[in-house]
């Protein structure tokens, strides 16, 4: 143990003393992802995105005068406890310079209580507004907030599709709560009727009765809020088996091939939305998609993209601020500049929230989504 402590001290000393002249030691960035458990698929995708970003940065000569990026992975296993443990381990034992953590909103909130005022934390994917709403000066978010996304999407659903009444079903989670609050607010504003809201537990094995109950309300639109691919597929299959609804929608940013493929066509025509679409990509985005496809043999999805962007933004901000540990300076730089990503230029506001330049309404077509409409985010 003594030896280990000494080694750690030596590393620390080296980090403190390092100048561009001693550029050998890498900048360690902690990646907290679900690598086991029911959401391990997101972790797998995120890791691919992170690896690609780090490889690009290192090939281009690293940051801060030639220092390489080194990614250190910890598994959050899809539970808040393990997420917190992972962050603590990365901060105190692995001595990383920044934390990239955030797929599930509840877990990210727990993690952000640990990172607050202690380390730079970039949340790539989780959407709940509460995460960036708690006033953490060194916390940044790549994805849009649930309310930004939901406001555009819910307005589209109500104003463009004009349903008479909406029936909602969703898992009992923080993400679901945030989306529902927004929907209720917008529906009230527009005088739209919400026929019924069914909130189910994560352990639910069958949705037939819930769908029967929702059909009995006579609603002409079903709106599903669920971020788990396997369950999303199962729910849409069961909706299809009960004859479907005239209008069908699924929550923003949660529909990917990993849900559409196992749904075996049952999601055809479902309306959803996201900050990313592969179809018709041009410029930087087309280049990103091509490069990822060549390296991994599959097309990138939103999770790949936001984790890739998170690593890129952290590295660029450290480089521009000229430090890997003066978080006040890095955060000021992050807020002051705009950052080039495959999606275009993004900027962070006072609360650390990035706004996607564009927002796309999708329709599930075949094994992927196709573009229905594009909004510029103001």
């Amino acid at each position: 143990m003594k030896l280990r402590a000494k080694a750690a001290l030596a590393i620390l000393a080296a980090a403190v003393l390092s100048t561009p002249a001693q550029a050998a030691d890498p900048v360690r960035i902690g990646m907290v992802l679900p690598l086991t458990g029911p959401t391990a698929g997101y972790g797998k995708d995120g890791k691919l995105g992170a690896e690609m970003a780090a490889a690009e940065i290192n090939e281009a000569g690293g940051i801060l005068g030639g220092r390489q990026i080194e990614l250190v992975y910890e598994d959050e296993k899809g539970t808040p406890q393990d997420g917190v443990a992972a962050v603590q381990k990365l901060m105190t034992r692995e001595r990383v310079k920044a934390i990239i953590a955030g797929m599930n909103s509840s877990i990210t909130l727990a993690e952000s209580a640990i990172t607050k005022n202690r380390i730079l934390h970039v949340n790539p994917g989780a959407q709940a507004d509460a995460i960036t709403g708690q006033g953490s000066p060194w916390l940044f978010q790549i994805n849009n907030t649930a309310s930004t996304n939901a406001t555009i999407f819910h307005s589209y659903l109500i104003d463009e599709m004009k349903p008479k009444a909406i029936a909602v079903m969703g898992e009992n989670t923080e993400f679901n709560k945030a989306v529902l609050e927004n929907l209720e607010h917008i529906a009230k504003d527009r005088g739209e009727e919400i026929a019924e809201i069914a909130t189910y537990d994560g352990a639910t094995t069958d949705f037939t009765s819930i769908i029967t109950r929702l059909k009995a309300t006579g609603a002409d639109m079903i709106y599903v809020i669920d971020a788990y691919p396997a369950r999303t597929a199962q729910i849409w299959k069961q909706i299809r088996q009960q004859g479907g609804f005239p209008m069908e929608a699924h929550a923003v940013g949660t529909v990917q091939r990993s849900a559409i493929v196992p749904a075996e066509g049952a999601m055809e025509g479902v309306i959803t939305a996201d900050i990313f679409i592969a179809e018709g990509a041009t410029g930087d985005m087309a280049e990103f998609i091509d490069k990822f496809q060549q390296a991994n043999g599959v097309a990138p999805n939103k999770v790949v993209l936001v984790v890739y962007e998170a690593v890129k933004v952290v590295a660029a901000a450290m480089d521009k601020a000229g430090t890997d540990s003066d978080y006040a300076k890095i955060s000021d730089t992050l807020r002051a500049e705009t950052w080039t990503t495959p999606r275009g230029e993004i900027a962070f506001d006072e609360k650390g929230r990035a706004k996607a330049p564009y927002f796309y309404i999708h329709k599930v077509t075949g094994e992927d989504v196709s573009l229905l409409d594009t909004f510029e985010v103001k």
Partner: protein, 291 residues
């Protein structure tokens, strides 16, 4: 009225599916006194085996029995290497830990070999639904219900009418007595374990097309199966069927008419209530003092 009818149909069909998952658990408990926490992992293996066999060119209806054989083969390998040595006559402690560890290992192995993303298990019934008089019935669900009833009835008859079946019943009623009357108890135990595992695999092969194949697909289904089995009485096949119907109908009615978010508590509350009135479950034998 229509809503009530549709709900009752939903509940009955749901119950038939639950019975299929539960029967393997109850067989293994009845003869081996093992609480098999790895049941869900074998359920998942059944679905993955079906999927892989279909990819290899087997039609679905042929892939089901082939998948059951694959799962039985894996079960046999594990039975001879681990289960036989660690579990028989060790009571609940050992069995809970070993089967739980086994289940974790199988799930991790699936993630490492096939990957974590859910995969479709194609079925010729696809997403087809039979609609009659305003009611909707999924073809795959009807197939599951029919298969479930056929398998459970066939199994009950086999247990009563054949020598091997009689021997299984004898061992489950009184292992020592069975041994004294010349029954090869170790063989019967292995056979029961394989039967239970195969039933889990069959359930996975049948239910897979509904819920797609993913590594942790067994977790939630097995929790329901546990409530079903306890409700009916551990070790009783009739009890498992009755328990499955009660839970299936109960869940469907509760979800439609009362509350969706409190439904997961319903099964447990039913179990607790029944056990307070009848500690051996609805159809279990009143023999609890093994300890």
């Amino acid at each position: 009225m229509d809503l009530l009818l549709q709900t009752l149909i939903n509940g009955l069909i749901l119950g038939a599916g639950y019975a299929l998952v539960a029967v393997g658990l109850t067989v293994i408990f009845g003869t081996l006194h093992i609480v098999n926490f790895a049941h869900g992992a074998f359920f998942a293996l059944g679905a993955y085996a079906t999927l892989l066999l279909e990819e290899a060119g087997f039609p679905y209806l042929l892939a089901i029995p082939a998948a059951v054989l694959c799962v039985a083969a894996i079960g046999w390998a594990l039975e001879t290497t681990i289960v036989r040595r660690a579990l028989y006559d060790q009571g609940e402690h050992g069995s809970i830990i070993v089967t739980f560890a086994l289940s974790q290992a199988i799930v991790a192995a699936i993630i490492l070999t096939v990957g974590p993303d859910p995969l479709p298990v194609p079925s010729p019934f696809g997403q087809a639904a039979v609609s009659a008089g305003g009611f909707f019935l999924s073809a795959q669900r009807l197939f599951i219900a029919a298969a479930s009833v056929a398998v459970l009835l066939g199994f009950s008859v086999w247990l009563r009418r054949t020598v091997k079946g009689q021997q299984i019943l004898a061992v489950s009623q009184n292992a020592r007595g069975a041994l004294y009357s010349g029954i090869n108890v170790p063989l019967i135990r292995s056979l029961s374990f394989l039967l239970g595992i195969s039933a889990a695999g069959l359930a996975g092969a049948l239910i897979g097309p509904m819920i797609s194949a993913f590594p942790t697909m067994g977790d939630a289904n097995v929790i329901v199966a546990f409530t079903v089995v306890i409700l009916g009485g551990l070790g009783s096949i009739g009890g498992a069927m009755l328990g499955a119907l009660v839970i299936g109908l109960g869940n469907a009615l509760f979800e439609t008419y009362v509350s969706v978010s409190w439904t997961p508590a319903l099964g447990w509350i039913l179990v607790i209530l029944v056990l307070l009135l009848r500690p051996q479950g609805l159809m279990g034998r009143a023999q609890l003092d093994r300890h």
